[in-house]
Assembly symmetry: C2
Homo-oligomer: 188 residues x 2
């Protein structure tokens, strides 16, 4: 989700609508490894990443399994928990010192109900999130771990520059040992 991009590309907020949004955003600084959202909590706040990065992960049998990595302009939080206002099944933590602009659930609902442009943007964001999730779902269903590794290098090389390898391993659905062997195998 590149919200900032979408905003000006797909909808035309009036300056009043823009002002209403900006007034609600408050800056916040997350320390490295600080949890933005913990499993079991309801995600009542959602934010845009201005500078930095974050990781979404599940905890299964004491182990962390990375679901996604977020960088600048992405929305930080659990959409599933935020939309439903039910406890989150995933954790969200900053990978490094990260600057965000956040707003609360009630503020977002207020924008939806009072500004058609933001209601529409909400729909488009949800659609984009869905498309992104479906693409990931497809890669987990159709592709071998090895192909997922090669695709990630090809399509998102920056992930390897900014995210520790053992986090990437669980994202690919493999162990760190297997990732290490892929790297060896495809090193040229």
């Amino acid at each position: 989700m590149r919200v900032i991009d979408n905003i000006e590309i797909v909808i035309q907020p009036t300056s009043e609508e823009k002002a209403a949004l900006e007034k609600m955003l408050r800056p916040r600084l997350l320390a490295k490894n600080e949890l933005f959202l913990k499993e079991g909590e309801v995600c009542t706040t959602i934010g845009f990443i201005e500078q930095g990065s974050a990781r979404l992960f599940y905890i299964v049998d004491e182990r962390e399994i990375s679901k996604d990595f977020l960088f600048e302009n992405a929305i930080i939080g659990s959409f599933a928990s935020f939309f439903s206002q039910l406890p989150s099944s995933l954790n969200v933590a900053a990978l490094e010192e990260t600057h965000i602009l956040e707003m609360d659930y009630r503020q977002v609902m207020y924008l939806y109900d009072h500004y058609p442009a933001w209601q529409k943007l909400g729909r488009i964001i949800a659609q984009d999130q869905f498309i992104r999730s479906e693409r990931r779902e497809a890669s987990l269903l159709k592709d071998s771990p090895e192909l997922r590794y090669l695709s990630l290098i090809e399509e998102h090389p920056k992930v390897f520059k900014r995210v520790p390898l053992h986090y990437i391993a669980s994202y690919l659905g493999i162990t760190p040992e297997t990732l290490s062997r892929y790297r060896q195998k495809f090193k040229h």
Copy 2:
């Protein structure tokens, strides 16, 4: 997505809004195995399943991999292709003779732009689709094939009653042989 349920539960359409929707829905009958959408085509039509069932699947190396199964009240089509109006990467086919109510992309956009209730419903449908996709993504990432099999039996036993096993196998990310062995193993 249980649209019909959602409609009355989460939003309050006026009778005018309801009438506008109903006027656009046209009935259609899909024969068993008839394709509703083919890979490469843009999904310009979306429908509600009144009676029957359908399967979404990818084709990889000449093989079909089932992504999802749809039953009564579900929305049939590719959301990703429909939302983006880009070629679909998946196929949609009826599993049996299936009655649907369908409408076109332009009609849906018209509803979104002219009726706040439908714009809002569009957002909520997109959110629900996202949550559903994320849950599936999580099971593919976190769970073993065996656990996915056991969860499917537990949570959606009706799938085993209405869908051929070899379709279910690829949905679980395993071969028909492995599914057959799980069934043997857990038969009590």
